[in-house]
Amino acid sequence: MTTATETGPGAPDAGASATGSVRRPRGARRRPDWGKYFTWTVLCWLFAPIAFMVVFSFNDIAGRHNVTWEGFTLRWYSDAFAYPDLNVALLNTVTIAVLTMLIAGFLGTLLGLALGRYRFLGQSATNLVMFSAISAPEVVLGASLLSMFLTMNLAVGYWTILIAHVMFSVSFVAITVRARVLTMDPSVEEAARDLGATPLTTFRLVTLPLLVPAITSGGLIAFALSVDDFIITSFVSGSTQTFPLWIWGSTRVGIPPQVNVMGTLIFGLGVLLAVANTVLARRRSR
């Protein structure tokens, strides 16, 4: 917090110095933008292990341990799918994440719509349960789900992972959608109804398009949570492997460079998305 009080307020003032130097002459003496340095330092910290991962995806190692630099190679990229089990694990991770996104997106949208639009019995209970589901520790969720699945005679595996992922991400979607519903202008829908649209048509042509950004971002949150989850998955996975589980298991014998390659490719995909987003944002602001 002390850092905040020191560097934080410096920022708007520095901003004023750039645009409003006439109004505030003392701002003419340009202060160093500590906030910027700080942010970049933090970014370096955030990217350190990523840089390590990317660099070592090009490491020409002979043995199983990929930690000391032994020369540049591209062969792990041409040999990225050398471990069939790793490929299966990655495929599981992706398909589970997509299904999670769709199911949690659907259930969460309905929940969010109801919570944002109507007053109904059980509303505060619903909020409470959702809040608890978001804030319950992962190890608690994993452990209790495992006991539950076994009680229900469900063999743990792919589908129980999916159930668990939908469970912990549905509340995030619901909250995101609810926030959008609450800020939506009701007069738009009224206008549609006054023009003779049936409730269903109104929903399809007016409400839904307005909700799409919220549903999308909720779905993406669900996707991201699902892809990254390790703790809950490790409880309910049975013998099904996911990407994080496989990595964890391979620490026993040394993580193969293929993991770095896949991590790098996924990261690269993220960079592409980010760049596209920035370009679009600039075009829109123009």
Partner: protein
């Protein structure tokens, strides 16, 4: 028995339990499961299956032309030449799955299904001697082996693997590969020869010692330090051993209690010496050019085995049994050993490796010779004499055993 339920809880329990929980599923409830739904039924009954004689089990079984094999990662050449040879010879297809990351969690996954007498999806699996294996045997979850169908095992397995304390007479298991838990050290940092378990207690190595997190492995070394044979220890010995380990910890010697990833820190000097598995050290030296030393300490070390076994609910037990025996063919065992670099239960494979080495040239020759000559893969008689079995922990005495050592490693 006191049970106080609020009306809401009672309704909840009723609503969820009554349609689903009949008598049969109550019987089958796994340990984990006992769960909230047992509220209405007041508990969960014992988990054991019925014991069957070897003859009774195999009478109505026949080969189905396929077998599902669960093994540990990197425990067979990725090209699976041994399995291909098996399929070629017998026509039996093998579905190989690297499903086992560690014993407890694999046990946790299959136990509920076995308790319900349901197939676990595997006909052949590999588990280490230890608590989980003892439980599997004690709860009658394993198929009794029909030794008339294991001729290769009878002929080629070394004697030491036929009279283990955990499964004497190989009633349920035969080893897939074995290893020694001893001490490894990095001579780059340790400037004297390490010969004894007591060296792990030497304050010269403050914060540079790695120990194993597994309660059984940890206990074994505490027992060696206090001069007790693990296989022949009782509760009083365990307490003394736990005290000794606690002392080692309190002196600040232990950097970390490793579950399996100790090799890297040992190679790069984060730790200087550690409890270690023989095959890991062999591989690390062979592949990374490190010069780590592995010692069977004078107080003793443990010989462990990853054992093949057939769950009693297996759908293809005959095929699994055939595969087990096939892996005891010295040619095949030599191939496995060449890749795994742990101790093979088939001593005859050493000659085969030497023959192969004589025919090979260059790198391959070197590798084969290194494997064939290594005392880590083929321990000497002297080493074997110092090796002991584990503490016989079962589900009955686990409560007295495990917490003592978890209290050390997880404090």
């Amino acid at each position: 028995m006191t049970r106080r339920l609020t009306p809401a809880q009672a309704a909840f329990a009723r609503g969820l339990t009554q349609p689903r929980l009949n008598r049969r599923s109550m019987l089958g409830l796994s340990g984990l499961t006992a769960a909230g739904f047992a509220l209405s039924a007041c508990g969960v009954e014992g988990q054991g299956g019925e014991s069957t004689s070897s003859k009774g089990f195999w009478d109505d079984k026949k080969s189905n032309g396929r077998v599902n094999f669960a093994n540990w990662p990197l425990y067979m050449d990725p090209g699976k030449p041994e399995l291909k040879a098996f399929t070629e010879e017998t026509g039996i297809k093998v579905d190989y799955d690297e499903a086992i990351q560690d014993n407890p969690s694999f046990f946790g996954k299959i136990q509920p299904m076995l308790a319900q007498a349901e197939p676990i999806g595997y006909d052949l699996m590999v588990l280490t001697n230890g608590i989980e294996l003892n439980k599997l045997i004690g709860l009658n979850y394993l198929a009794p082996l029909d030794h008339s169908r294991l001729p290769n095992f009878a002929e080629h397995a070394a004697d030491v693997y036929k009279k283990t304390s955990y499964d004497s007479g190989n009633r349920y298991t035969i080893p897939y590969a074995s290893g020694i838990t001893g001490i490894a050290y990095n001579p780059e940092y340790v400037d004297r020869e390490i010969t004894s378990v007591a060296d792990l207690w030497d304050t010269a190595f403050e914060d540079k010692v790695g120990m194993f997190a597994d309660p059984q492995e940890l206990a074994n070394f505490g027992l060696f330090y206090t001069g007790v044979d693990p296989a022949d220890s009782d509760q009083r010995d365990w307490i003394a051993a736990a005290d000794a380990l606690q002392e080692q910890r309190d002196k600040g010697l232990v950097r970390r209690y490793y579950s399996q990833d100790y090799i890297q820190p040992l190679s790069n000097g984060d730790i200087w010496m550690s409890m270690a598995w023989s095959g890991d050290i062999f591989q690390q030296n062979a592949e990374e050019g490190t010069n780590l030393k592995f010692v069977v300490p004078e107080e003793g070390a443990t010989l462990w085995s990853d054992n093949m076994m057939i769950p009693s609910t297996a759908k293809n037990p005959v095929d699994a049994l055939m595969l087990m025996d096939f892996l005891y063919d010295p040619e095949i065992a030599a191939g496995l050993t060449e890749y795994i670099n742990y101790i093979t239960p088939v001593p005859a494979s050493r000659g085969i490796l030497r023959e192969k080495a004589a025919e090979a040239s260059g790198d391959e020759k070197e590798t084969l010779e290194r494997v064939a000559d290594s005392s880590l893969v083929f321990p000497t008689e002297e080493d074997y004499a110092k090796l002991h079995d584990y503490v016989p922990v079962t589900s009955e005495n686990e409560e007295e055993f495990a917490p003592l050592f978890l209290a050390v490693s997880q404090a």
